[in-house]
Structure formats: structure tokens, C-alpha cells
């Protein structure tokens, strides 16, 4: 595709349910990032994949959060046993190589009720 694609655009879930958020990066991009943004706030780093290196998971807020990137392409962010404080916009970005311009998807707005 032409850009980074995220799905779903919006997700409403009940507290305690698990959710999966999907990111399709730009083809050929080796770096993939996940960020979280609460209303009116900055971007909170979650996890970073770069090529075949071990992912940098230092930003994941708890063990309820996990992410994988299959075949160096599509990535899935999973949140288990969702809590109300997980409500935010989850943004995915990719870049051709590390340390270069990042291209963002439009995000998934997650609401936990």
C-alpha cells in the first residue's frame, strides 16, 4: 500500500477483554514503532522493531501488553485484560531504516468501557 495502515480505526471494548490492534507498515520498511497517545498528550513510546534484532520493549507499561512482528512486516499489538486507563490512540509508524523519517498510520482509537 501507499502508506502505513492501521486497523481497526476505532475499537470499543469492555473492561477485562483482550484486544488486538494491527499495523501494516510500508513495504520494505525495516523499522516499526508503536506509540500511545492519550488525549492532549505527547507520544508515549511502547515498542520498536528493527529488522531481525530483538525488539526494544522498554516502553510497554505492563505485562498485559505484548507485540509481535511477523515476517518482518505486519505487526500486532495485543492488550490483555484491558483497563480503562488503556483508553488512548495507538499509533504505529514505520521507517525504511533506523534513524530516518518515520511514516505514521492514522491510529486506532481504543475506548475501554
Amino acid at each position: 500500500g501507499a502508506g502505513v495502515s492501521q486497523s481497526p480505526s476505532n475499537k470499543v471494548t469492555e473492561k477485562g477483554k483482550d484486544v488486538e490492534l494491527r499495523c501494516d507498515p510500508i513495504s520494505g520498511h525495516t523499522a516499526l514503532y508503536w506509540y500511545r497517545q492519550s488525549l492532549g498528550q505527547g507520544l508515549e513510546f511502547l515498542i520498536y522493531f528493527q529488522g531481525n534484532s530483538a525488539p526494544d520493549k522498554s516502553g510497554l507499561p505492563s505485562d498485559r501488553f505484548s507485540a509481535e512482528r511477523t515476517g518482518g512486516s505486519v505487526s500486532t499489538l495485543t492488550i490483555q485484560r484491558t483497563q480503562q486507563e488503556d483508553s488512548a490512540v495507538y499509533l504505529c509508524a514505520s521507517s525504511l531504516i533506523a534513524n530516518t523519517e518515520a511514516f505514521f498510520g492514522q491510529g486506532t482509537r481504543l475506548t475501554v468501557v
Binding site: 507520544l43 528493527q50 529488522g51 490512540v89 509508524a93 518515520a102
Partner: protein, 112 residues
Amino acid sequence: SQQGEEDPQALSIQEGENATMNCSYKTSINNLQWYRQNSGRGLVHLILIRSNEREKHSGRLRVTLDTSKKSSSLLITASRAADTASYFCATSPTGANSKLTFGKGITLSVRP
């Protein structure tokens, strides 16, 4: 933790005026980037300046970088109402595969 810190947090100017936004960071960097965000969704890359560069221009944008002070500024000249958005600086710390971290952003309002 936030690597970059922008200031001011909010800026309101009249159309036609220049807007200056600042960013400070803590560690050595490969490069510093500025992004724009409309309506709380995806960010758009504006400009990248490498650690060995001091100034860069792109259209109405001018970015400076002072590595000795660990700071950068973004100048938007002849602002337009359409420039109203949130602006973020992002840093790529020194290292081969370092992650990109963002500041909290600056809200710019340009009054018509």
C-alpha cells in the same frame, strides 16, 4: 521517559507572523526531527536535521540545531491559518538502531 521537551506548550499568533518553537533534549543524538499532527491522529514528518548540521530549510520552515546546548528550534515564517496544529520534536539517540522518542508537543494556533 521523554527525550525531547518542547516549549512553549502553546503558542497563539496572528496570520502572517512567524512562529518559533523550541526543543531541548538530554542525550547525544543521530538526528532530530520535527513532526506535525492535526486532529490527534497520524503525525506527518516535516524535516530532519542531522547532528553534524546546524541549519536546514524547507519551504517556510527553518530548523536550527545546537548540539552543545542540546537544543533545536523550528521557525515557521509567514504563518497561515492552515498551520494550526500540534508540533512535536523527536530525537534519535546515538546508536545504530536507536528508537525515535517524542516530546509532549506544542499547540500552535494561527488566527486568521
